[in-house]
Amino acid sequence: MGGKSKGSDKVKANPKEVLTGVYYIDGDVASGFGALAAGCRFIGGYPITPSTEAAEAFAKVAPKAGAVFIQMEDELGSMAAVVGAAWSGVKSMTITSGPGYSLMQENIGFGAMLETPFVLLNIQRGGPSTGVPTKTGQADMMQSRWGAHGDYEVIAISPDSPQEMFDYTIKAFNLAEKYRCPVMIMSDECVGHMTEKVVIPPADEIEIEPRRLYTGPPDQYVPFKPDEDLVPKMARAGDGYNLYISGLVHDERGYPVEPSAFKAQYVRRLVDKIRRNKDKIIELKEEGTDDADVIVVSYGISSRVAVKGIEIARERGIKVGNLRLVTVWPFPDEKIAALATKAKAFVVPEINYGQIAFEVARCSHGHANVVLVPHGGAGVHIPDDIADAIEYAFKAEGKIERVIEFKTRLERTVFEEGYTLKE
C-alpha cells in the first residue's frame, strides 16, 4: 500500500488500483472504479437492474489489481460472501438494488453484529417489489436504517453525480474501516445511469483508511474490546488469533452470552459507536440557510433537481436555504433542530411518499412546519413543484402538526376524473 500521510493514520492509495485519468462514464462504472481505488479486493454481487454495470466495470478491471469479482447464486449469498471476505482481511463490497437489498437484510444485520467493515452500493429503483427496474427511486432510505432485525446503526451517504459515485465509494470504504460498520451508498438509477465527466486523480492524492488491525501479542487479543472511540481493533482469519466470531450476542471476547448473563452494553455499543462519533461522520452541504425563511432539505438526485426549484422560488422573492444531506444516516438531528428555530418551514423533496421528511419533522420539534414534496418513483421531481411547495410553505400560517404532503402536478393529473393510463 502507499506511504503514510501526515496527521491522520490514512495512507495513500495503491497506484495499481487507481485508473488515474479523465473519463466520460456513468455513475455505476465510476463506482466500480472507485471501489478498486479504495483498495476493495472483493465484490460479491448478483446482477440486478439498474446496478449491474458497476459489477461489470469492476469485474473487468479487477484482475489488474489482484481483486476478485464473484457472481454468487443470489443476493443472500453475495452478502454472506462479502462478510466472509471482510473477515479474511480484504476490503469487500456488494452492489444491488431494491429487491436484492431486501434479500440482503439478514446478512446486513449479521455483518453489523460482527462489526464487519463493508460497503453496500444500492442503486435504488421504483418500488415496492419488482416495481420499475429501469427507472429511479429513493424509497429505500428508511430501509437502509431499519431493514434488518434488532438494534444496530449504519452510515448512509447519497451521491448525486458520477464524480461523487467515484469519490463517495472511497469515502464509504474509509468510513467502514474507521467505524467497522455497514456503509450504504444510497444512489439511484438516475445517478447510476447518468454519464458525466469523472476525474480520477493520481494515487497519491487519494487517502485510504487502512484496516485497524490488532498487532499486539496474540494471547492478549480481545476481539470486541473497543478503543476509546468504541471501535474495536480487528484481526484476520489466518493470523493465528484463533478467532471465534459468532452472530450471537457476544461479550468482548466474542463468546456467545447466556440469556441470563445478557448485558445491554454488548448490543448497545453497536449503536453508541455511531451516535457518539456522529459529528465526525455527518457531512452536509449548506447554502443560504442563515437568514432563510424556508429551507429545502434533500439528498441524492433530488438535491440536484432541488437546485432548480430553489432558483425559481428565489426569483419569486422567497428567502430559501438549501441543505443537502451528503450523509443521511446518522441523521443530523442537531442541525435540523437548530435550523428549525430560525426558519419558518422545511421543504423535503424526495422520490418516495415520505421517509426523510418524517425524520426532519422529528427533529424540528414543532418549531418549523415540514412540507413533503412526494414522488412515487420512475421519474424525478418537476422543479416547479418544488418551487410551489416552497411558496406554500412560506405562506402557510401557524403551526401544522403533521407532515404536509404537497399535491404534485403528477398526482393531480393521474388522479383527476377520467384519467386513463396509456400503455
Partner: protein, 397 residues
C-alpha cells in the same frame, strides 16, 4: 360474518402465548400455516398441527423463510387464510416477499416473535428490536398494519384482529410479539364462535370476463377472486395497472403505488387502536406496547400511589402509529415516558408526534429486560421534576 365453530376452542384455558396465537389463527379461519422452524416461535406450529387434521387445515415447513412467505402468498390466492410465524432473522429474510405481498395486495399474517437481536442474537431472550423493521424493512413505499400483544390472551385476540385487518385492507399484517409473551402461560378465555366477528374476504362478483385484479373500490381496496374459478387473471410484482399488466412509467407508478400507501394511511383513524388508562388528568404519560406494557402499568400504579399524576397509553396497533392521539396528549401532558426493549424505535415516533409540546423520556433496553418497572418508575419521577420542555429525547435512566 361469524367464526367457523370447528376452529374455535370455546372456553377458558391456561395457554402458552404461542399456543394462544395458533388458536387465534384457527378461530379466525386460518387454514394454511407455512413455517420455517426458529426459536422462539416453534410452539405455534406444534399447536396448529394438533388441531389441523380435524379442520382439514394445511401445514407446510419450507426450506427457508424466503420460500415460506412466498408459499403463504400463493396459498392466500387459492382462497385460504394463510399465516407464517418467525422471529428476527426470519423476519429479515421475509422482507422481499413482504414487498411482493404489498404489491400483489395479498392478505396474509406474519407473526414475529422477537428475540434479542441483531444477527443471530439470543433466540431465547425477548426484545422489541424489529418494530421499525416491520414498518420500513422492505424496499419501496408502502404502509403496514402491525399489532403488539402483551399477553397470551392478546396473542389470541390480536391474531384474530390481524386476519380481519388483512382481509379488510387486502394487505399483509404483522403481529409483533416477543419471546416473553410467547413463552408466558396465562389464562386465555376463548368466546363462543358466534361472538367472534370475522371480516369476510371481499370477493368480486361481477361478470367473469370483466375481472380486474387491481380495480379499486371507493376505499382503494380491490376485490379478490380465487385461483381456479375461471377468471384467468394476472398479477405481477412489477408496477401495474388495474388489469395487473406491467406499465413502467411515472404515471403508472403514481397510479399504482400511491393508493398502496393511502389505502392504509388515509384510514389510519379507523385502524389505529390504543388502550388508555388514567390519562384524563395525567401530567406524564407512559407510552408502551407489547410485553413492556406489563411493567409500564405496574410503574404507573406505583407512581400514582406516590401521588404522581401519570397515565398509560398502550399501543394495540403499533402501525399505523396513533399520531393524532399522541399530538393531543402532548398538549395536555408535560412529558412522555417511552420504555422499549430496544435502543430507540417507537420513541422516535413519539418525539415526532409531540411536536415539541412535551418532553420525551426514553427507557432503553436494560440488563433486566422485561422486569424493568423500577427503571420506568425512575424515569417517571425524573419527568415529574423536569419543568421546562426540552427538545430531543432524554434518556430516562
Amino acid at each position: 360474518m361469524k367464526a367457523d365453530p370447528k376452529g374455535v376452542l370455546t372456553g377458558s384455558h391456561t395457554l402458552l402465548g404461542n399456543h394462544a396465537c395458533a388458536e387465534g389463527a384457527l378461530a379466525a379461519g386460518c387454514r394454511f400455516l407455512g413455517i420455517y422452524p426458529i426459536v422462539p416461535a416453534l410452539e405455534v406450529s406444534q399447536r396448529y398441527l394438533e388441531r389441523a387434521p380435524a379442520l382439514d387445515a394445511t401445514f407446510i415447513q419450507m426450506e427457508d423463510e424466503v420460500s415460506v412467505l412466498a408459499a403463504v402468498l400463493g396459498a392466500s390466492w387459492t382462497g385460504k387464510r394463510a399465516m407464517t410465524v418467525t422471529s428476527g432473522p426470519g423476519m429479515s429474510l421475509m422482507m422481499e416477499h413482504l414487498g411482493l405481498g404489498v404489491m400483489l395486495e395479498t392478505p396474509c399474517v406474519i407473526v414475529d416473535v422477537q428475540m434479542t437481536g441483531p444477527g443471530l442474537g439470543i433466540p431465547t431472550r425477548p426484545a422489541q428490536g424489529d418494530i421499525m423493521q416491520s414498518r420500513w424493512g422492505s424496499h419501496g413505499d408502502y404502509e403496514v398494519i402491525a399489532f403488539a400483544p402483551s399477553s397470551p390472551q392478546e396473542m389470541f385476540d390480536y391474531t384474530v384482529k390481524a386476519f380481519n385487518m388483512a382481509e379488510r385492507y387486502r394487505t399483509p399484517v404483522a403481529v409483533m410479539a416477543d419471546e416473553y409473551v410467547a413463552h408466558l402461560e396465562e389464562t386465555v378465555t376463548i368466546p363462543p364462535a358466534d361472538q367472534i366477528v370475522i371480516e369476510p374476504r371481499r370477493y368480486y362478483n361481477g361478470p367473469p370476463g370483466k375481472y380486474l385484479p387491481f380495480k379499486r373500490d371507493k376505499d382503494m381496496v380491490p376485490p379478490m377472486v380465487d385461483i381456479g374459478q375461471g377468471y384467468r387473471f394476472h398479477v405481477t410484482g412489477l408496477t401495474h395497472d388495474d388489469r395487473g399488466y406491467p406499465i413502467m412509467f411515472e404515471e403508472c407508478q403514481e397510479y399504482n403505488v400511491h393508493p398502496l400507501v393511502r389505502k392504509i394511511r388515509d384510514y389510519a383513524d379507523t385502524i389505529v387502536e390504543v388502550q388508555e388508562a388514567r390519562t384524563e388528568d395525567a401530567a406524564i404519560i407512559v407510552v408502551s406496547y407489547g410485553s413492556t406494557t406489563r411493567a409500564a402499568l405496574k410503574a404507573v400504579e406505583q407512581a400514582r400511589a406516590s401521588g404522581v399524576k401519570v397515565g398509560s397509553l398502550k399501543l394495540v396497533t403499533v402501525w399505523p402509529f396513533p399520531e393524532k392521539r399522541v399530538a393531543e396528549l402532548a398538549k395536555q401532558a408535560k412529558a412522555f415516558v417511552v420504555p422499549e426493549m430496544n435502543f430507540g424505535q417507537i420513541v422516535n415516533e413519539v418525539e415526532r408526534c409531540s411536536y415539541g409540546e412535551a418532553n420525551v423520556f426514553f427507557v432503553p433496553h436494560g440488563d433486566k429486560g422485561v422486569e424493568n418497572t423500577d427503571d420506568i418508575l425512575a424515569a417517571i419521577n425524573r419527568a415529574a421534576h423536569e419543568s421546562a420542555v426540552k427538545d430531543g429525547v432524554i434518556e430516562g435512566v
